[in-house]
Symmetry: C2
Subunit: 135 residues, 2 copies
DNA sequence: GAGTTAATGATAACATACTCTCGTTATCGC
DNA sequence: GCGATAACGAGAGTATGTTATCATTAACTC
């Protein structure tokens, strides 16, 4: 028996739902929770179900197209894989999470003797441009 | 009716359990989950119950003696209030969390225009001294 | 187009962390 | 000590986020 020629994307049918879930991340370009994906996705597919969003997000993570982003005290969010190394900002008012680009200094000096650094994660909190109080 | 004179510590009886929960934080000196507190506490009070730990941790947080520490992807931990500003290191192997002392530079530069920074949080991941692979 | 079958989505089930209940135990004031 | 009552702790209950079920819908093959 010869293997079937090029199983296209693991034999998945390219449904509107699957396309929309991926498109939401492409368009919004910040880490999104499953409920945020549902909310944006329903603007295109109004009857989109939460189970379908969970299903596709799980698959996209499994395929390495999405990366989970855990922020303190909140639900898991997801963002497109392959972005340059970056940090995150969470608004204390609207709770949206934004990407921050750039590097910080002095991290190595914090490390106790014998400890080995493998990953660093900086999370800033405050008011985003939409929520910052006006004077 | 005259108010009772000086309700000592909100009329709470100083039981062994309450004493032990606080003492664990004093002794271990790193952020602890409720289960870690239970584990250490049972070395002193073997029949210590999880409900009692939750109860006292909740009260100590309410009194401002403990501060919750949320690290990505994990359970809530708690640490003594009043420590100098610091960051955290989590071991990818034993999952223990340690305090890091010192400051980092360049955080302000990451912030997009109009965003207002109110709190920063740096979490380092890697192997702690006990878990780092030997050559 | 018609039949086949994967995908959907409403809802039930599950997992986990946490809180409540209530009979028992320990501490208090006297 | 002794009675009153706060605290304990085993286990039930709750809340929330995620997965499984299954009848229905939609995409594919021919």
């Amino acid at each position: 028996m010869i293997a079937p020629s090029l199983p296209s994307c693991a034999d998945r049918r390219p449904t509107r739902q699957r396309t929309v879930v991926r498109a939401v991340f492409e368009e919004i370009r910040r880490p999104l929770s499953v409920f945020e994906v549902l909310e944006f996705g329903r603007r295109v597919v109004p009857r989109l179900g939460i189970a379908t969003v969970y299903r596709h997000v799980r698959e996209l993570v499994g395929e390495g197209q999405l990366i989970p982003v855990w922020l303190p005290g909140g639900v898991v969010r997801y963002e497109l894989a392959g972005l340059a190394r970056h940090h995150h900002f969470q608004c204390v008012q609207c709770h949206r999470v934004f990407d921050l680009h750039g590097a910080i200094l002095g991290v190595e000096q914090l490390l106790p003797r014998q400890f080995r650094l493998e990953r660093q994660e900086l999370i800033l909190h405050g008011h985003c441009a939409d929520c910052v109080p006006q004077d």
